[in-house]
Amino acid sequence: MNINSVKNAKPNIDQTTGTQSSSWLQKLKFWGTYLWEGPDFLSQALKLEWRFIVMRWLGIIIIAPGLFLFNLSHQQIIGAFVVLAIALVYNLILQYMLAKRSKLLISGYLVIFLDALLNVAMIIVAGGFDSPFYFIVYTVTVSAAMRYGYGPVLVMALLFVLSDVFEGMFFRQFLGSAFFLRSSWLILTAIIAGYLHEEAQEAKMALEEKLNQSNALNKELEAFSYSVSHDLRAPLRSIDGFSQALLEDYHEKLDDEGKDYLDRVRAASQRMAQLIDDLLDLSRVTRSNLHKENINLSDIAHSIINSLHEHKSNRNVDIKIKDDVTAFGDSRLVRVVLENLLSNAWKFTQKKPVAKIEFGTEKIEKEIVYFVRDNGDGFSMDYIDKLFGAFQRLHSMEEFEGNGIGLATVQRIIHRHGGQVWAHGEQGNGATFYFTL
């Protein structure tokens, strides 16, 4: 994934100037972007975390030399560097976790808390720290900045610095190392946190805007499909109804050819009605909410096969269904998937003397893959990219009936479950449909 993101982010050097210095600049720019943006796959929240980590690096780099500006004892310097080393390791671990895409179990606030602990420990060792009060102030300040932005937090930080100055002026050496570390850390982190807050705010607003847009779009789609279901069907009813009226009321005046034409008109209008219904079902699949639960796919497959036997009997089909195949998904929608795949298998094996249909699982790269296999008419792999398109058909109506919506529906349902669907076939030699959930 890292490699991918590098490839994506890398500007095309060859096509620009191509000189050594500019390619060096490009590289610098690339790493700068990478440090700021993090790997591509980070979510907005994790990106902010990533930036926090990068900022902490910056803080460590700025503060560490500061330790030498003051008269510190050897122990203090060693102690400070021990803490800095811990901070480095801690930072590295966090960054590694993010870069490796592993889920961060600790929430943002816990990170801040640990941060505060670390920084305060650093200051105690380096500068002689006197009150646990500082620790609380630090945590509260940074958390508040994450939540409310710069304004109130900077005031708070300044007040704290002022009190430090006041304390330093009257009670101890002014501008001591402790003061330097404390105030610079506090102001720096408050500014960073405030900045991150603004970023988060912007991201949130952008997200809200997107959500509003998609809601509006959804509403429009709903209105559209409503109108399709209502308005598009009405003329079809007239076509069918009045053709029927002609057939009944003008029976004597029509010859057989005329009646045949009217029958065709009626058949076509009914077929179009079916198409509209299927299209609506397809759009509903994408709109309805998912109710995921544990489901037994074997049971579902058995009941589908039984109903196929009931409705289209007189067929000799060799059915193999693996026992106790389970999955986590929306039972209604997964049933639609199996219905489509199994009835396809049923349909395309109708010309075989011995039809074979199998439902089972395979393990591919540690993942359970479900499959429906048949020895039917199959398809040529040349047309694989058309297989899952809506209204795409690979056979003529005379060969096999259907309207090309089944596999499109299957694909939508599988994608909504976050799974994948693919197929393998051979012309005249059966097909296998694989899916994951």
């Binding site: 069907r233 009405a234 009813r237 109804g241 009226a245």
Partner: protein
């Protein structure tokens, strides 16, 4: 001869209207049919006090109601019917093209007695009209209602 009960048919599409009347005729339902071409006409008929030239009207025994109507929607008509003591128990059969889940839920929530989707196939439509007529006009015992408003 005993006077037959009225059917109020609320339908805006003239083709659908002609086909419904044809189906009624073919299934030998001889009841008088009052036609309203939109929600306002339906409400004006049912609640004569709504228009100034009010005269006594006969309440129907059955209302066949389309959902998508000009001016006032079928659902709105249904809600108004259920809110009035004179009409709240009148059987209302929704006869519409929509099979959207939300429409079906809304209709039952608002007190529809039956919900039927118009099929494209006229032979099926004829059967439906026949069954609706025989069920609601003869088999079903309607709540007693004041015929004349």
């Amino acid at each position: 001869m005993e006077k037959k009960d009225l059917i109020l048919l609320v339908e805006d599409n003239p083709d659908d209207l002609a086909l419904t009347l044809r189906a009624l005729k073919k299934s030998s339902i001889r009841n008088e049919v009052v036609v309203a071409k939109d929600g306002v006409e339906a409400l004006d008929y049912l609640f004569p006090e709504r228009n100034s030239q009010s005269f006594k009207k006969e309440l129907p025994r059955l209302i066949v109601l389309d959902l998508k109507l000009p001016k006032v929607s079928g659902l709105e008509v249904l809600k108004r019917l259920r809110n009035d003591d004179r009409t709240k128990r009148l059987p209302v059969v929704i006869l519409t093209t929509s099979n959207e889940k939300q429409d079906i839920i809304d209709c039952y929530d608002s007190g529809a007695n039956s919900y039927i989707r118009k099929p494209v196939d006229f032979s099926k439509f004829y059967k439906i009209i026949h069954e609706v007529g025989s069920y609601w006009l003869s088999l079903n015992e309607s709540s007693p209602w004041r015929r004349v408003i």
